[in-house]
Symmetry: C2
Subunit: 190 residues, 2 copies
């Protein structure tokens, strides 16, 4: 039996991504977002929704660029912190001890210590209710060599990303593999 | 040291959602998508990107409605299958033995056996490269009573959603809790 919980933003699963930008003075900033996801395969694009009061909003509008940084489990505290304070009055890199590195493709900083980084140029922005959705064209994906498998592909168990549970406001690690895609459903194909 | 993997749609983490629609003859259909995410808090909205050849694309355009269904781990095979065949020539509900139920808020079917369901009316659609992004206003979230905690909130360990790893085309379960949001980062706030 199903129970109605009403109109709300409950989805499984929400990612945890950290958006890197420069402000007008060149100060690097980071903020954490969960309203995000891939939105196009070609060109490869990622969408991130932000509200106008966010410091990052103005930075993206000005620089037309941002990075999407994937924290590993080791940085759950930093990622949480990056969503709790504003870059308007805080230098979050300095406070956290993490290191900003200028992107090689776009005018935005990425987080050196995070295992996966997407460099994005602002392709489009859409107004949706109280949010602005920024669509970034992914110009490059950079990964730490240490998270690569021998086959050259990133290994989930080494990247160790985590998700956000909006129902209970909690972070969860990723667990075990439960099947190969485009394969485990083949039996039903008949 | 970071290594460039080029321009590609690698993100952590991708959700696995199943989109429910009716076709023009009223036949219920489901397809699996990973290019999806929440895109607005108010009104609550979810974005799903589809390509025009998909059967679901025409169904959403015609009915202006869809559901977003979250499969539990038990249904990883069915979810995989729903992404492998087209509703043009297959009755995926019949083939999988799952049960379509007409939404109470929108003209779209949801999957009875899946623990969490979002009923969405088409609010907007945006063209982004080869994809069309459908923005659905979430009119209701329905959950199985069995996944609720005593406090009335859905429990991750009972919903048991899973994610998609695009790097290795594999599905992963969710693991342990690693911290409370808006809390574990407080130490850094100083």
């Amino acid at each position: 039996m199903k129970q109605s919980l009403g109109a709300r933003t409950l989805l499984y699963t929400h990612p945890v991504v950290v958006i890197g930008t420069y402000d007008r003075d060149g100060k690097p900033n980071v903020m954490t977002a969960a309203w995000a996801g891939i939105c196009c395969s070609s060109p490869p694009c990622v969408a991130v929704s932000l509200q106008k009061p966010r410091y990052t909003y103005g930075n993206i509008m000005e620089k037309k660029a941002f990075t999407v940084n994937i924290p590993s489990e080791d940085y759950v505290g930093e990622a949480d912190y990056f969503g709790m304070v504003s870059g308007k009055d805080t230098d979050k890199f300095a406070a956290s001890g993490l290191t900003p590195v200028k992107g090689t493709f776009v005018n935005a900083p990425y987080v050196k210590q995070f295992p996966v980084v997407l460099e994005c140029r602002l392709l489009k922005s859409f107004e949706i209710g109280v949010h602005t959705q920024f669509v970034g064209e992914i110009l490059d994906v950079k990964v730490d060599e240490g998270v690569l498998s021998p086959d050259g592909r990133p290994d989930m168990a080494r990247v160790r990303p985590f998700i956000y549970d909006s129902a209970k406001q909690e972070y969860y690690a990723i667990g075990r593999s439960i099947g190969k895609a485009f394969s485990i459903g083949r039996d039903l194909k008949g």
